[in-house]
């Protein structure tokens, strides 16, 4: 029997909800059918609060909190969809689009891309910032997969799934700030790295940055839903 203190009651978007202690705002919101946009977060992986799309407003605080890592407290009042938040979310997406080369029309993930879907949901019609158009490489050295850094948004899902689920930790991040890149091993070619060829990173990548070799033009839906089931089965063992 749980202690009374383990149950928290709070308000999300004027809806009274209850939560268990230690739950994140995002978990509670989703349990109650309230949608908060996310990009770096993925069910089954640890959360890093990197993309800031899930920022929410808490009554009594000027600070915006990332819902994927902020835990609930008693009598909390959360707003997930205010004009201020929508503006921030659009700006974050614009920054992502301006940073690298996202050309949807010729991307394998066109129509299945989380970045594209979010942009549509957030009503993004224009990028007000100048595009940086960096000249980034494509690593096609792997037998089965390709990484196109032009489409990478540095969500680090690949890094986390490789380290936490596959246990290989082939992917990591190098550089700082605008020079950040995901790399395999110590910045070796993917094809000659210690990759186990499991393909989990490809399935969790929210954009067309990681994809099956040979796949083109919208024919590459991804299936990241396997993660919670995989975790469940491992825990059951």
């Amino acid at each position: 029997m749980s202690n009374g203190d383990d149950v928290k009651t709070l308000i999300i978007d004027d809806q009274e909800v209850s939560a268990r202690r230690g739950q994140t705002i995002l978990e509670v919101a989703r349990e109650n059918g309230i949608n908060i946009p996310t990009l770096c977060h993925l069910e089954g992986l640890s959360s890093v609060g990197a993309c800031r799309l899930c920022l929410v407003e808490i009554k009594g605080s000027n600070k915006l909190l990332p819902a994927c890592i902020a835990t609930v407290f008693e009598s909390m009042e959360v707003s997930t969809d205010t004009e201020r938040l929508r503006k921030h979310r659009r700006t974050i997406l614009e920054l992502l689009f301006a940073e690298r080369n996202h050309i949807c029309s010729v991307c394998v993930s066109n129509g299945h891309c989380e970045l594209q879907t979010l942009a549509q949901e957030q009503g993004l019609t224009h990028i007000r910032l100048p595009y940086r158009n960096p000249n980034l490489p494509v690593d096609a050295s792997h037998e089965r997969f390709t990484v196109d850094h032009n489409r990478c948004i540095l969500c680090t899902r690949c890094v986390r799934v490789c380290a936490e689920i596959e246990g290989a930790h082939v992917w990591d991040v190098m550089g700082r700030g605008i020079n950040c890149m995901v790399i395999t091993d110590l910045h070796e070619e993917w094809g000659s790295s210690t990759c186990t060829r499991c393909g989990k990173c490809v399935q969790v990548c929210p954009t067309g940055a990681l994809f099956d070799k040979g796949k083109i033009g919208s024919e590459h839906p991804k299936y990241p839903d396997f993660l919670p089931y995989l975790n469940l089965m491992r825990e059951a063992r």
Partner: protein
């Protein structure tokens, strides 16, 4: 005092072009140029991308003939992969390419050129457009719109999108043809036959009114080039290239994609971003040749479909040897539309057309590959070099409009010399200068692989470089 006439932009073309006509001090036309004024750089920015992205990327060159680019590109990729695609995939692609040819020819003939043909070269420009045609000849206007729709609908049924479909991929196509879609296309055929018959009859009736234009619209002996089947019938998607001379003798035959660049060179002129293709053994510009509907009908011995066969025989009666006047491109285009419809019907009745095996797979097995297709406006070739991981190192595209470039320039000069007298020209004369370019149905955006906007402008420039007169349309 010499003068220059500039037509900028040239209207009713696919893409943006400019014409300049240079007059000497006697007011006679000394020289004339057709300029393509943009550069796009497709060959450059595909470098570093995976080769199998090329069909989708390269097709973005053009919204009119993306299918030809898709096919030429996919074939170049298949050469890199060293695969032969399944029969059904080849047939489906052939049908897609024919559907595009029908819609593009319908666009060229009805939307772009029929205002000149049906309303007259000197008709009021305010009504000299497709809507004018629809008002004056509603049946023909409707037929044109319907034929374009016919081609576009087939592309959409097969490939899901009318423009830039992702269905054609290296190795074949992504989805087989369901029976319901086959039946839907079959049901569209009777109306298409009626419409093209209407257009052919109408064209033959009015062609007689254009004797003067037929004489001077790029009417000169030249070489011709197109794809052709082993049995000497017309081919748009496979086959090998044949080149004939001005008398119709075979000059070079069985030119494969691998030997193409050995015999075809590309020259550059300072006034255009579009290159000038030529047959190397004869040098430039003597080795210049024409491609497209006129070239195809001049080269082939048969169409392989009954109705078009009769039309081909009639077409060949226009001249002994190759038909040299570019005005006849219009006629050839209509014959090809008829062929396209008949061939689509034949393909749909192929017992294997619904087969589910439509894609072959392979990795990089060769570091260079090239592929042909006949675009509506002529032979198209894509040539790629890749590294061992399949990343593009280099690309070259040889586009129909580049191959017709010299003929278009000669045509512009011929028309200008014939019509511009004493440095004087009328709107109707300028329209004829544009109309000669329209006979080729050039695709300027493809040819300059172009960016930006350039509507048509025509200027008359004096010997001292002074612009004497200028007509601008934007």
């Amino acid at each position: 005092m010499s003068q220059t006439i500039t037509i900028d932009p040239v209207t009713r073309l696919e893409g943006h072009g400019k014409i300049t006509i240079h007059l000497n001090s006697q007011g006679e036309v000394e020289n004339a140029h057709f300029h393509v004024t943009q550069v796009r750089g497709f060959e450059r920015f595909c470098e570093g991308r995976p080769y199998y992205e090329m069909p989708g990327l390269m097709a973005r060159i053009c919204g009119i003939c993306p299918v030809s680019h898709l096919i030429a590109s996919a074939k170049a990729c298949e050469a890199v992969m060293s695969v032969r695609i399944p029969h059904t995939a080849a047939q489906l692609r052939r049908m897609l390419n024919l559907a595009q040819m029908v819609q593009s020819h319908a666009l060229s003939f009805f939307y772009l050129s029929s205002p000149d043909l049906l309303l007259g070269m000197d008709a009021d420009p305010a009504s000299r457009h497709l809507f004018g045609v629809v008002a004056a000849k509603p049946e023909l206007g409707r037929a044109g719109v319907a034929l374009r729709r016919f081609g576009q609908s087939i592309i959409e049924l097969l490939a899901e999108k009318r423009i830039h479909p992702g269905w054609v991929v290296p190795g074949g196509v992504t989805e087989p043809l369901p029976a319901a879609k086959r039946d839907e296309i079959l049901a569209m055929l009777p109306a298409a036959y009626d419409n093209v018959k209407l257009a052919l009859d109408a064209y033959k009736q009015i062609a007689g009114q254009f004797k003067e234009e037929i004489e001077v619209f790029a009417n000169f002996p030249s070489l011709y080039m197109s794809l052709i089947n082993e049995d000497e019938s017309i081919e748009f998607t496979d086959g090998e290239v044949r080149l004939i001379d001005a008398d119709g003798h075979v000059l070079d035959d069985g030119i494969t994609v691998n030997t193409f660049t050995e015999v075809i060179g590309e020259a550059v002129e300072p006034y255009s971003y579009t290159k000038f293709a030529y047959y190397k053994p004869l040098g430039y510009p003597q080795g210049s040749y024409r491609v497209g509907p006129l070239a195809r009908l001049n080269i082939v011995k048969s169409m392989g479909t009954p109705l078009a066969e009769k039309e081909l025989a009639e077409f060949k009666q226009l001249a002994t040897g190759p038909v040299q006047g570019s005005f006849h491109y219009h006629h050839a285009r209509l014959v090809e539309i008829l062929y396209g419809i008949e061939k689509i019907e034949q393909i749909l009745n192929d017992p294997l057309i619904l087969d589910k095996h439509v894609r072959a797979t392979a990795g990089v097995n060769r570091l260079e590959g090239a592929g042909y297709a006949e675009a509506p406006r002529g032979t198209l070739m894509h040539n790629y070099k890749v590294d061992e991981n399949g990343k593009m190192l280099w690309a070259n595209l040889i586009i129909a409009t580049g191959q017709n470039n010299n003929a278009m320039n000669k045509g512009v000069l011929q028309v200008a010399q014939h019509y511009v007298r004493d440095g004087k020209f009328t709107e109707g004369i300028l329209n004829r200068v544009e109309a000669v370019v329209r006979t080729f149905d050039p695709c300027l955006s493809c040819s300059s692989h172009a960016l930006g906007q350039m509507p048509l402008a025509l200027s008359l420039v004096s010997a001292s470089g002074e612009v004497v007169d200028k007509v601008v349309r934007g």
